[in-house]
């Protein structure tokens, strides 16, 4: 299995705050990695570094053949390969669900309007929202908005999808519908890294769990490691029911 993402000894500080303190892990093609850990442990920062939203201070990050740590990185070509979904959906409020999805294919890949619309229909169907194409974000529930955001990323046919606590703003019922979409994606062979607080979901879907603590990868292993933590930190983290 070739690695789609490989972090080696990544360091990142904000001022004097060492947020990533030598982080290494890799994710192979078709793998689903769940990143867990306390608030402030650096999970979001790690994800943002993978997508070059933050520049790192040391170490290397390779993503789909792009050397992300390299100053000469072509960010736009990296972003063709990587999709990211945020906790706050970030849909464009003045565009319908369909238009939100069509924007990047039209602008970036220069596909025709008709093609972009077909693509939008296709990805909306995949997230179970085919009938919401003409709705504006404010007309959709949080869960629906998040699914449109996922569809919007999928429309760019990324090789890797990043999810940063995409269900944290949702109530349990809506969380379920978003998680189902992600599970379908995983089953479809998408390579994914997800930062999540949904332990049950991580255990079930992830092929690899990365437990971060104080800016380090404290423990990593298959989903089952959550049932038998080796470190007291993970034990207390899992035990606290987060």
């Amino acid at each position: 299995m070739s690695a789609v993402v490989k972090l080696s000894n990544v360091y990142k500080s904000f001022g004097t705050n060492k947020v990533l303190d030598g982080v290494s892990f890799e994710v192979g093609r078709g793998e689903v990695a769940a990143v867990i850990g306390q608030s402030g442990s650096g999970k979001s920062t790690a994800l943002r570094c993978i997508n070059a939203l933050e520049t790192i201070d040391g170490g290397t990050i390779d993503v789909c053949g792009h050397a992300v740590h390299d100053e000469k990185l072509d960010r736009r070509s990296l972003r063709r390969d990587v999709g990211i979904v945020f906790q706050s959906y970030n849909l464009f409020p003045h565009l319908t669900a369909e238009q939100n999805i069509m924007l990047a294919p039209s602008c970036v890949k220069k596909v025709s309007k008709a093609e972009a619309r077909d693509l939008a229909k296709d990805v909306l169907a995949r997230v179970g929202l085919a009938e919401k194409a003409g709705h504006y974000p404010e007309q959709l529930s949080g869960g629906q908005q998040q699914r449109v955001a996922i569809a919007r990323s999928l429309a760019m046919q990324p090789k890797l999808m990043l999810f940063d606590e995409v269900t944290s703003a949702l109530d349990p019922q809506l969380t379920g519908e978003v998680l189902k979409v992600m599970e379908d994606l995983a089953r479809g062979g998408m390579t994914m890294i997800l930062v999540t607080h949904e332990m049950a979901f991580a255990r079930k879907v992830a092929s690899q769990v990365v437990y971060m603590h104080k800016g380090k990868v404290w423990e990593t292993g298959p989903g089952a490691m959550l049932d038998s933590p080796r470190t007291p930190e993970l034990a207390s983290f899992v035990g606290s029911g987060l």
Partner: protein, 227 residues
Amino acid sequence: MTYQFDFSSLWAYWPEFLQGAWLTLQLSAVSTVLGFVLGTLCAIGRADGPPWVKFLVASYVEVIRNTPLLVQVFIVYFGIATLGIKVSANAAAVIALVVNVGAYTCEIVRAGLESVHKSQLEAADCLGLSKPQIYWHVIIRPAIERVYPALTSQYVLLMLASSITSQISAEELTAVANRIQSDTFRSFETYIVVGIIYLALSFVVRIGLWLFGLAVFVRKRKLGTAL
């Protein structure tokens, strides 16, 4: 004191009133379009330009907002003449109005640009959109939709303020009125008529901008809610 109103002597002048009103509308329309473009570019420069651009735009806006329009009109008019460039009074009027309304537009649009959340830009960036694409699709369009009511008021004001350009004898409505009242000695009546015409023009401009807004802001038209 009794005043005998006499509007009858003004009847003969209706083609001129109409001509003046038409020119006022034209001056305002051209100034609105150009002022909008200038103001929007300035707002972008102020939000995202290099320091010297920010400084330049800020100075421009402050100077315009803190000096009378009439003085601005004179400076443009005589300034251009001093440079030895020949332009008509109407053209000078348009330039002065554009410079003036551009500054106000800049401030209004800037508020709109600032209302677009950083996370929106990040999302667009992550989708691979280029900077100009992000500006156009993700920032400017919702920003303008948000401040459109304020812009509408500003452009109605511009139309009314264009009366000041009568001072450099641009042939707009107020200049026409000035001439008619000196011909007929019916000053009061003349300005009452002109006032009513301005009222009608304001109405026309508002309706026009409203219809334009409906055509452009599809979301607003469909949902009726503010963005």
